[in-house]
């Protein structure tokens, strides 16, 4: 009776398949007795008398800070459930499609009674693979739900092809490098995996999702075009930014080229200052870093008088600016190959994640001070963070996680013979990788 009740938060936008997954959790034989807290109508309990229904009641603890905002309804319901905790093994808490997961998660950190009785094991976010991209740019809730997730169930994958799925995974990873992404159709994911996420198990997250270790580039997309001796037009519409950077890298032997391999070469040229170019002006394949003015639609002439193939690298995805390569008669030419890159955090106004890994032992006092300062000044912008760090003269890993300004650290497994590497993931808005990395490294002993 002294162990805490594990809680899994199930979140996801409207129509993402939460209820389908919930019904599977309740109907499949996994041997667990699960109490469900439902805050949309149609509540389901483990037995008839466990009617658990919540209004969305959000309140701030004292000073209006988002970091101290909790869910009053949840506190009351959980306190009620605490009285009958011998009746169930765990709790699944389904939020409404429009709920901000922040106050829900914070409730498990802020409220003393809840913290004593319950343990937030993980946040599972369901994503509608077919439609989620429509919400990336216009829905704060969708971004927050993805950012807070320990696991993202990419549902309805049968409605998109593999290429789209790959692209979507990259976008999701950009927002949240910490989460495991599980493709699914009809929410057919392994229920034990969904329920057994393990709130502090960063090793698992890092082990499954290696994408965060891949390099980040200042370009999001590249496509290979073969253009005979002729003039072509690069057509661009206005998009989220007033300009777009690009580079047309000539290819000697197209068959030998892998776009990810080429990225390192292009990256070096990208570091040069861009040359401004406007509609109707001309660009040539080469190593010049171009920047196209997109205050209005632009049609840029591509000088392909030498013929051959080139790789077009663009700062943003073609979809964002309706990028097309047109021949002399206005027909669109498709790329023969394309690749979406794990872009650097060039969109400072969007949610993203930063994963840091480096060696060395931390001075605990310096680290405490730095985290304290970080959370006081940047807490509202840091949705979640998790980490495993090495503390000087300490045999055990220090495992921590946080939600906004709320922070929890505890000793983990001993390092043993394993190399002591610090691995820390931040998810939030306007994350400055250099600031985070420099700050953390300044705390090494």
């Amino acid at each position: 009776m002294n162990s805490k009740v594990p809680v899994t938060i199930l979140t996801g936008f409207l129509g993402s398949g939460k209820t389908t997954l919930l019904n599977r959790i309740l109907s499949e034989s996994h041997g667990l007795r699960i109490a469900v807290i439902e805050n949309e109508f149609g509540e389901i309990g483990i037995d008839q008398d466990m009617v658990i229904n919540a209004d969305e009641e959000v309140f701030e603890m004292n000073n209006g800070c988002i970091c101290c905002t909790v869910r009053g309804d949840l506190i009351r319901i959980l306190n009620n459930l605490a009285r009958r905790r011998e009746k169930f093994d765990r709790i699944v808490l389904e939020t409404t499609g429009l709920a901000d997961p922040g106050p829900v998660a914070q409730t498990f950190y802020v409220d003393d009674d809840i913290r004593d009785e319950f343990n937030l094991e993980g946040i599972v976010t369901l994503v509608d693979a077919k439609h989620v991209e429509q919400h990336f740019d216009d829905s704060e809730e969708v971004m927050a739900q993805i950012a807070f997730a320990d696991m993202i169930v990419l549902n309805k994958c049968d409605l998109i092809d593999e290429e789209q799925q790959g692209h979507l995974k990259e976008r999701l990873t950009k927002v949240n490098k910490m989460a495991t992404i599980m493709p699914a159709r009809m929410a057919d994911v392994s229920i034990p995996k969904v329920l057994d996420i393990g709130g502090f198990d960063l090793d698992r997250a890092l082990g499954i999702n290696q994408a965060f270790l891949e390099p980040e580039y200042p370009f999001e997309w590249a496509g290979i075009y073969s253009l005979p001796d002729n003039e072509y037009t690069l057509s661009l519409s206005t998009g989220p930014d007033p300009d777009i950077s690009l580079l047309c890298y000539p290819l000697m032997d197209q068959d030998q080229v892998e776009l990810p391999d080429l990225a390192e070469k292009v990256f070096r040229h990208w570091a040069e200052s861009p040359v401004k170019v406007k509609s109707t002006e001309k660009i040539s394949p080469g190593t010049t870093h171009w920047n196209v003015d997109l205050e209005q639609e632009a049609e840029i002439n591509i000088d392909s008088s030498q013929g051959g193939s080139f790789a077009l690298f663009t700062q943003h995805t073609p979809e964002e600016f309706d990028l097309k390569v047109l021949d002399g008669t206005g027909n669109e030419i498709d790329p023969e190959e394309e690749h979406y890159f794990n872009a650097g955090h060039t969109h400072d106004d969007t949610v993203s994640s930063e994963a840091l890994e480096f060696g060395g032992d931390f001075d605990p006092q310096k680290l405490n001070r730095w985290f304290s300062q970080l959370l006081q000044t940047h807490g509202p912008n840091i949705f979640r963070m998790k980490g495993i760090v090495s503390i000087a003269e300490n045999e055990k890993r220090m495992v921590f996680q946080g939600v906004h300004m709320l922070f929890n650290a505890q000793p983990g497994e001993p390092w043993g013979d394993e190399e002591r590497r610090n691995r820390i993931v931040f998810i939030g808005r306007e994350l400055d990788r250099d600031y985070l990395e420099d700050g953390l490294k300044s705390c090494l002993s």
Partner: protein, 351 residues
């Protein structure tokens, strides 16, 4: 603790499930307790024997409250129902009326029920509305609480004013003049418990952020009481309102209200418990105190001036409820635990 005599238990039973509410009849003869499965047990305190038990609701119960003058009590549940039950001298129980609040627009989860002191109205809080009903079950008026779900409510001890607390502060409505603008006591935060001083001059609220907040109702002047480790939801007055006792720490914290209220200086702290105090009760004469904590310890203090309790005992788990008999001369104390045990103690040897 070794020098303290143990408190004797005169009645004990297992409720089977965690108790959600416990209340004495106004005359002090009956004690009623309801558990999470809506099983009600009525005990005759004069004989120390259970006299009736039944299931009051089809779903989980949330509270019960005895009428201040009649042998009637109300029980309420998670599905929008309040039922009124009457017990006669032969201990037979019958349901006398039912109030159904559930509708499409309502949150069926009824948060609180409280009788007005004269027993003419029952306040029922559900969502962000408090309805006032007659003892016959008719809804007579409604008071909104725009701040959100009602977190607590309390009737003025001497009159018709009803304090409603929640996120953003307190609204005090007059049940005899329901269209009058309520008194507004604002506070940026969420208020979770509420208590009037016995003379009605002060109203105090326990807050989500581990503070308590007290107002002079007349001047609206407010004071913040802080330093609690947990939410100080226990707010109990003793000595005719000259002392306010608060939980939220392992020490019994005693605030002096002799003249100005909470600003009279630092409170007195009485150390005894090992864990945070989660229940406090004061005898009908306002002098003696029972305090219970999270590990099941109960202490009996003869008065707020005691440095040490007169006696103590231990329940099997966290103390959920403590309530002295309202009969002026009685020293019977009812206590319940998280694991579902109900105890009746006779403390007349100590207080």
């Amino acid at each position: 603790m070794t020098d303290i005599q143990t408190l004797d238990c005169v009645f004990k039973t297992d409720l089977g499930e965690a108790p959600v509410a416990l209340d004495w009849s106004a005359c002090g003869q009956w004690l009623a307790v309801i558990n999470i499965h809506s099983d009600v047990l009525v005990v005759d305190a004069n004989t120390g024997t259970p006299v009736a038990s039944w299931t009051a609701h089809d779903d989980g119960a949330l509270a019960l409250a005895w009428h201040p003058k009649l042998p009637v009590f109300a029980s309420r549940c998670q599905n929008g129902l309040v039922k009124l039950w009457e017990i006669d001298s032969q201990h037979s129980i019958k349901q006398v009326s039912e109030i159904a609040l559930q509708s499409e627009s309502d949150n069926p989860w009824i948060e609180f029920i409280k009788w007005r002191r004269d027993g003419k109205q029952l306040a029922i809080a559900s969502g962000n509305i408090v309805r006032l009903c007659s003892p016959q079950g008719e809804v007579e008026t409604s008071f909104p609480f725009p701040g959100g779900t009602v977190g607590a409510m309390a009737w003025h001890p001497k009159g018709s004013l009803l304090g409603i607390a929640g996120y953003g502060g307190i609204l005090i409505y007059n049940s005899l003049d329901p269209i009058a603008k309520p008194i507004e006591l604002k506070w940026k935060g969420s208020l979770l418990s509420l208590s009037w001083s016995p003379d009605g001059k002060f109203i105090v609220a326990g807050c989500q952020d581990n503070t308590a907040h007290v107002w002079s109702v007349r001047t609206k002047k407010d004071s913040l009481m802080s330093g609690f480790n947990y939410k100080p939801l226990q707010l109990t007055w003793s000595n005719g309102g000259k002392r306010l006792l608060t939980g939220g720490t392992k020490d019994l914290v005693i605030w002096s209200f002799n003249r100005k209220g909470a600003e009279e200086g630092a409170p007195v702290e009485r150390a005894f418990h090992d864990h945070a105090i989660c229940a406090i009760a004061v005898t009908a004469n306002g002098k003696s105190i029972a305090s219970g904590c999270r590990n099941g310890h109960i202490a009996i203090w003869e008065s707020a001036n005691d440095q040490r309790p007169k006696t103590s005992t231990t329940l099997d788990s966290r103390v959920e409820h403590l309530q002295w008999s309202p009969a002026r001369k009685s020293k019977m104390l009812a206590a319940s635990s998280r694991y579902g045990s109900l105890h009746l103690f006779d403390a007349s040897a100590f207080v």
